[in-house]
């Protein structure tokens, strides 16, 4: 086995794990998992974490951390709903994206200009931005009107936005300097700096992309639940992060960061949540079972990729 093939096989491991989980649950649910309606659900439920993950991937690739995704979802959908009420239909995405962009830029600037670790900044955002949304929203009901909801929940928009974003991110991530720099920063930030690349700019851009993607995910989430509430997006960032890491993206970032892994990871999580319901696993224990299966899936993927690696090494 050549090294190229080995690397390729390594990338496929998350897909295998996904396949294994799918097979297990479809067998256990006697095929109900793969019913048209449930596939629709799984896709539906995976869209927000995948979109947010597409952005967070840039940050993770650099070895940095962004746990502000959940609160950006709330903030962006707040502004989206406000904009729709104030200006109309078309304003939802621009307003949300602007909110996400500003948050991301702010995080990036604080991180690069003031050298505050990204985990610390985003943690304080989690604490404060949630409170800010609560303050702004108060007791008002901010609804997304039905036509808009139908639009966002409709297959055409949902799939085309998802496909568009995936394509754009695959392009930026794999075929432009920005993506390469983000991954290179994860490998060795100093090496990037010493090749004359403006690392700060790359970092700010990465946080901004993460913010924008979280905002777009926020609009879809808001459309799904009909509007904004103060708890919208609670621990959403953890779901996205699980998707990334379960898919096999290294926590330290670098060249191992791949879009396919993110998608596989997010699908795995949704599949798990859906599959357990289909198995009639109910109540508080579901959460525990989910935790155990997640751990098992990661362990499984690791063992498999290790054995592929060893076999290739032995040849």
């Amino acid at each position: 086995m050549t090294r190229g093939v080995k690397a390729y096989m390594g990338d496929l491991v998350p897909l295998f794990t996904l396949l294994a989980l799918t097979l297990f649950f479809s067998a256990a649910t006697k095929g109900a998992l793969l019913s048209a309606m449930n596939l629709n659900n799984i896709l539906n439920q995976s869209i927000p974490p995948i979109i947010a993950g597409l952005g967070m991937m840039f940050v993770v690739a650099m070895g940095a951390t962004d746990i502000s995704t959940g609160v950006v979802v709330a903030l962006a959908s707040y502004f989206a709903c406000m904009a729709v009420t104030a200006a109309g239909f078309w304003a939802a995405f621009p307003a949300a994206i602007l909110a996400g962009l500003c948050t991301g830029l702010l995080i990036g600037v604080i991180n690069t200009r003031f050298k505050v670790p990204s985990f610390m900044i985003t943690l304080s955002f989690v604490i404060s931005v949630r409170a800010l949304v609560t303050l702004m929203l108060g007791i008002q009901t901010l609804q997304i009107a039905k036509p808009l909801r139908d639009l966002f929940n409709g297959w055409a928009v949902r799939l085309s936005v998802l496909a568009g974003l995936v394509l754009i991110v695959v392009y930026v991530f794999n075929y432009t300097p920005l993506g390469m720099y983000a991954k290179a920063i994860g490998e060795n930030e100093n090496a990037v700096k010493y090749t004359g690349i403006n690392v700060s700019k790359v970092k700010i851009a990465a946080f901004a992309i993460s913010g924008v993607m979280a905002a777009i995910a926020g609009v879809f989430t808001a459309a799904r639940v009909g509007g904004v509430s103060t708890t919208l997006g609670t621990s959403f960032e953890m779901k996205v992060m699980m998707g990334l890491f379960i898919g096999g993206i290294p926590v330290s970032g670098g060249m191992g960061t791949k879009v396919s892994k993110l998608i596989a990871g997010c699908l795995m999580i949704t599949l798990l949540e859906s599959g357990l319901v289909l198995l009639n696993v109910s109540g508080a224990i579901t959460q525990g079972v989910r935790g155990l299966v997640l751990l098992a899936a990661v362990y499984f993927a690791r063992v498999v990729s290790l054995s592929i690696h060893n076999r290739a090494e032995a040849r």
């Binding site: 604080i110 985990f119 943690l123 992060m241 926590v251 508080a284 579901t286 362990y299």
Partner: protein
């Protein structure tokens, strides 16, 4: 030796003076602004009492995080082990030994499970922590619901002497001393940092990385286990949460750990945790005294303060910041 003495008179000491002066004047100023309430004996007692839990959790996390493990299950662990302690103390009639040993041993055992996932099964610690948090939260709610009717809270009615002020004050002082002792003055404290810094080099120096991480987790879990004992003694309950809600339990301690870490250049980390915990606790207290609405503005200001402190400490930071 002259060299060492010269070092003692370095900018570090000056920075410590500045930080102490800033904090002190902040408290005194706020005391006047709050209408002489902030530093009233009753309120000082309250501040110290409330600081104990975040301080112990932060010390615990410090030992675990330093060895290179990012464990987000600490909050779920505290909740579960505290409830185990209460169950043993009150419902199984084991009294104080049950409460203290039960909680601490449960915390240590549960933390070892997370560490097992991270170190032995080599699952990235982020995932191991989140996965175990899901499991522990679920175990808490399921376990308690099997035991209780008419409520979902396990109450500690007796054995609450540790929740009184003198005990809490003693805990805070002793905790800081022990944490400092272990992290700076023992081989294991040094080894934990060494393993976190470079598992390879420390391995070559005869340090067993796995054993060190496990020991670090035992020490860390003992700390937050003790913190949970004090918290449950003071508040008489540890309300279970679900859906990763336990993460918000450790947001404040997490902020404290990050703050003390970023000021490590100036203040000993263990002391930094103590100061940070009292500060974070006081922020909410102060703002309430000033009439700032809780649940909104107080959180916004806490976030702003954490970032500002990070910026202040980042002024002299060189090199890579992730």
């Amino acid at each position: 030796m002259a060299n060492i003495k010269a070092l003692r008179q370095n900018p570090r000491v000056r920075a410590q003076f500045i930080i102490a002066a800033v904090l002190l004047s902040l408290f005194v100023a706020m005391h006047f602004v709050s209408g002489f309430k902030l530093l009233s004996p009753g309120n000082v007692k309250l501040l110290i009492t409330q600081s104990v839990f975040p301080a112990f959790v932060s010390w615990g996390m410090m030992f675990i995080f330093t060895s290179g493990i990012v464990d987000l299950s600490v909050g779920a662990n505290c909740i579960l082990s505290a409830n185990v302690g209460v169950l043993l103390a009150q419902y199984l009639g084991l009294g104080y030994p049950g409460l203290i040993l039960g909680t601490v041993l449960a915390a240590v055992a549960l933390e070892q499970l997370t560490i097992f996932c991270a170190v032995t099964l080599k699952i990235p610690s982020w995932i191991a922590g989140l996965g175990m948090a899901l499991v522990m939260e679920s175990a808490t709610t399921v376990g308690l619901s099997a035991y209780l009717s008419g409520t979902n809270i396990l109450w500690l009615d007796e054995y609450r002497a540790l929740g009184t002020f003198p005990a809490m004050l003693a805990a805070l002082i002793l905790g800081a001393a022990v944490s400092m002792l272990i992290s700076d003055r023992t081989a294991i404290g040094c080894n934990i940092r060494a393993v976190g810094g470079s598992p390879h080099v420390s391995g070559a120096m005869g340090i067993d990385a796995k054993r060190t991480v496990i020991l670090g987790a035992v020490i860390g879990a003992a700390f937050f286990g003790i913190g949970s004992v004090f918290q449950v003694s003071y508040a008489s309950k540890f309300i279970p949460v679900a859906g990763l809600g336990s993460l918000s339990t450790i947001f404040n301690p997490l902020a404290v750990v990050l703050l003390s870490g970023s000021f490590a250049r100036y203040i000993n980390t263990s002391v930094g945790v103590l100061v940070g915990s009292v500060l974070v606790t006081s922020i909410f207290n102060m703002l309430t005294l000033l009439g700032v609405p809780s649940g909104t503005w107080q959180q916004i200001l806490l976030g702003a303060i954490v970032v500002t402190c990070g910026m202040i400490s980042g002024v002299h930071t060189k090199g890579v910041v992730k």
